[in-house]
Symmetry: C2
Subunit: 505 residues, 2 copies
Amino acid sequence: MALGLDIIISEMRVVSRLRKVAALLAWDQETYMPTGGAAARADQLSLILSLAHGRFTGSDFRHSLGQFVDLESGQVTRNNLQIHEIRMLEMTWRDWRHDVSIPVEFIRDLALLTSKAQQVWEQAREKSDFALFAPYLEKIVVMKRQEAEYLGYQDEPYDALIDIFEPGMTSRKLEALFNALRPVLVNLSTQIRQANRPNRRPILTQNYEESIQWEFGLEVLTDMGYDFSRGRQDRSAHPFTTDFHPTDVRITTRLNPNDLAMGLFGTIHEGGHALYEQGLDERYFGTPLCEAISLGIHESQSRLWENYVGRSRPFWMWYYPRLQKRFPGQLGKVSLDDFYAAINAVAPTPIRVEADEVTYNLHIMLRFDLERAMLNGSVAIKDLPELWNAKMQEYLGITPKNDAEGVLQDIHWSLGAIGYFPTYTLGNLYGRQLYEAARQQIDGLEDRIAKGDLKSLREWLHTNIYRVGRAKTADELMLELSGRSLSTEPFNRYLEDKYGQLYDL
Amino acid sequence: MALGLDIIISEMRVVSRLRKVAALLAWDQETYMPTGGAAARADQLSLILSLAHGRFTGSDFRHSLGQFVDLESGQVTRNNLQIHEIRMLEMTWRDWRHDVSIPVEFIRDLALLTSKAQQVWEQAREKSDFALFAPYLEKIVVMKRQEAEYLGYQDEPYDALIDIFEPGMTSRKLEALFNALRPVLVNLSTQIRQANRPNRRPILTQNYEESIQWEFGLEVLTDMGYDFSRGRQDRSAHPFTTDFHPTDVRITTRLNPNDLAMGLFGTIHEGGHALYEQGLDERYFGTPLCEAISLGIHESQSRLWENYVGRSRPFWMWYYPRLQKRFPGQLGKVSLDDFYAAINAVAPTPIRVEADEVTYNLHIMLRFDLERAMLNGSVAIKDLPELWNAKMQEYLGITPKNDAEGVLQDIHWSLGAIGYFPTYTLGNLYGRQLYEAARQQIDGLEDRIAKGDLKSLREWLHTNIYRVGRAKTADELMLELSGRSLSTEPFNRYLEDKYGQLYDL
C-alpha cells in the first residue's frame, strides 16, 4: 500500500465508526429506547455526528487527502496506485467535497429547521391542514436551493440534490426514463381497472397470528442467506435496515394481524438491503470500497428480493405449501393461483407505501415533477395540494379525499430529503435489469427458486454486486452485468408479461 | 453562575455524553448484539472511551478547571461560589486528578492485558486450572501496584485502589469494620448450622414459568416507583443496571425456570440501583452533582431494596398472596412462614453470588484479605488457591471442591478490578444503617410496606440520597441521615434479630 494511504484509511475508519455509533443510537431510539430518553438521545446523536463531521472536514484529513488528490478537481495525483485504490480516493474526495462545501452553520440551521418542520408536519397531517406545514416547506425549499448552490450543478439546482443520493443522475436523465415508463404504467393500470377481475386481496386481510408471521419471516430470511450471527430482526413503527459494520447489520419489520403482506414483504424487502450490507468487503471497512454504490442500487437489492423473487410464482411454488401449513385455517383451501393473484393485486391508491408494482412508480413521478418545480421556483408552495391532486387524477385516475392522504402523506420533505424519491423508481428499474442479468447467468434460476434454493441468486449478487462496494459506479455496474446502461425496457416488459397474464389482458 | 463555570460544565457534558454513548454500546452488547458484531463493537467502544478520556485530560479542560481550582492541591481558588458549586469543583478535580495521573500508555497496556486475561480466566475456570491464569494475575497485580503508585496513598498501595471505588475508604478502616463483623457472622452461621432446621429452599426450585416470573418482577418494579417511561428491563447473562441519562436508566435480569429467587431478587436489586440513577438531579447532568456518591452507597440502594425490603416479612405480607395467585400450583399450599424461611435460608456455599445475607460478607472479607496481601506482596500468586481454601474453611467451615468453585469463581481480578469487592459489604452496612434511619423518620414504614406502599420509602430515599448527587461524601451522608458514621452495629443487630427468630436460636 502506498505510504500515507494507511493514514487516510485509518482516519476514515474513525469517522466511519463514529457514524456507525450514531446509527446504533438511532436504531435503539426506534426499537427499545424508553420515550423519556428522547431529549438526551438527541444530544448524544448530535454530538457524535458533529465529531464525525469535524474530523472528516478538518485540517488533518484535508492534509492527508491532499497528498493523493488534487482537492479542487478530485484528480488523483499519485502514480503507482492500484485501480481500486484510485477509485477509493476518487469516491472519498467526492464525499469530502460534499461535506466541506456546506458550511457548518448551514447544517446546524437546516437541522433545527427540519427538526421543527417534522413536528409541524405531523400535526398538519393529523389535522389534514397543509397551510400549517406550508411556511416550513417554503423555508426548507429556500435552504435546499442554497444547498444546491453550495454543491454546484450544471443544468438545474434539483440535479445537485439528486446527485447526493444517486451519483451521476440528473433531472434530464430521470425525465427521459420516466417518459418511457409513464405511458406503459398508465396504460396497464387503466386496462387492469377495465378488466374488472375479482379482487383477491381479502385473502391477505384475514386474521394472521403475529408470532407465526414472525417465524415465517425468519424462515425466508434464513433461506435468503441473511446471517443471524451478524444481524437480527426487531419490530419498529417503520421498517428499516441499519448497519454498524458488515458483521452487525440489523433489520426491523412491523406486523399487522390483519395484513399478512405488510410484515412479510417488509421483511423480505429489508432482508434484501441487509444482504447487501452483510456482503460488503469488511477488509475495506471505513472506505467507499465497503459502501453501497448509491441509494438506487441499494433499493434495487430490496426490490429484487421483495418483488422479483418474493412476488414471483416460482418463489411461492416452494413457500406457499409452507405458509399454508402455518396458517391452515386461513389458507388451507386457497389455491396457489388465488394467493398469487392476491399478493399481486393492482388497484390505484392515494397512498404511495400501499401501492402495487404497477402504480407505485406513478407516485414517484408525481413527486419528481413537484420537487423539480419547487426547486426551480415554477410552482408556489401554496399551490402544491391542488397540483398534487391534479397529477393524481392524471396519473392514477383518483383524487385523495384530503391533504393527509395527498400532499401531506410523506415525511421526506419535512426532513429536507428532496431528491430522494426518484431512487425508489431507480431501484425498481435497476433491480429488474439486474435480476434478468442474474437469470441469464445462473443456470435455471427460477427452477432453483421453485425448489427453495435462494442461495444461488444470493451468491451471484454477493460476487457481482455486494463485494464491489463503490469500486464501480452504478452505470459501470449495469454495463458490466447487463451489457447496457439503465433502461426501462426490462421493467416494462416484465410488468406487461406478468400483469398481462394475471389479468388476462 | 460564576463566569467560566458554564464552560467547565459544558465540556463535562460532552465527556459525559461520550461515556453514556459507550454505556449504550455496552448495553447493546450484553442484550441484543449478534455474536459476530463483537470485534467491531470493541473498536467502537475503545474509540468513544478514548475520545472521552482525551477531552477530559486535554489542555482545554485543564485550562478551564485551572481557573477555579489549584490543580496541585484541589483547593478551590475562587470566591463567591455557592456551596454546591464548590463541591462540584472539588469532585471534578478528584476525578480529573485520577485520570491525568495515569499515563495513556499504561491505560492501553492494562486494557490489552486484562482483555487477554479475561479470556484466559474463562478457560482456566472451565478447566479448573489456576496455573493457567496465574501468570496473568501476576502481571495484573504488578500493574495495579504501579497504578497505586501513580495515584498515591498514605499507608499501603491497596488503599489507592479502594479509594477509586469508595472515596475516603482505606484498608485500615475496612479492617476495623470487618473485625467487628466477622465474629458475629461466623458465630451466627455456626449456630444456624447446629440448629439443624428443615430446609425450605426447595419451595423456590419448583418449576416457575418464566413469563409469569417476568410479570411479577414488573409489578414489583412499578410499585417501587421505577419509571418505565425512563427505563426498561431486558434479559442478559448477568444482571446489571446502566444509564445514559437520568431519563434513560435500564436494568437487566436473568430468569431460571427452576429458581424463583434468581430472577426476582435480581430484579429488585437492579431496581434499587436504577431508582438511584433515575432520581439523580438532571439539571446537573454531566457533573458530579448528578452522580452517585460511591459504589458502596450505590450498592446500599440495591441491597436495601433486595434484602431489607425484599426479604422482609412486611413486604411479603402484601406480595405473597399476589405471588400465590400467579403460581397457585407451586405456592397455593405453602404458608407465608415457610416461604419467608425459604427466601432467607442460610447455608454456607463456596460460591459468593449464591450466598445468603449471613455468609455473604465472609466471602468479601476473604477476598479483601487476599487482595491486600497480593498488593503488599505478602503472598505469592501461586499460593493463592491454598490460601483461599484455608480461609474458606476458617470463615465458612467448607472447602471448595476445586479452583473453579474456589479462587477462580469471580471475573473481577481478570478485569483488573482489585479493590472493588469491599464495596459489596459496605453496601450491606450502609444500606442497613440507612434503612433504619428511614424507619425512624417515616411514620410506620413497615406497616406501609405491608400494605403495598413502597413509595413512601422511595420518596424518602429520593429526597435524602438520590437528589444529593456527590454534593455530600458518604460519611457526611451517614452522619446527616443516621447521626453517626458507618458502623457494623445496625447490620449485626439486624442479622441477630432476624435469624435468631427464623432459626429459633
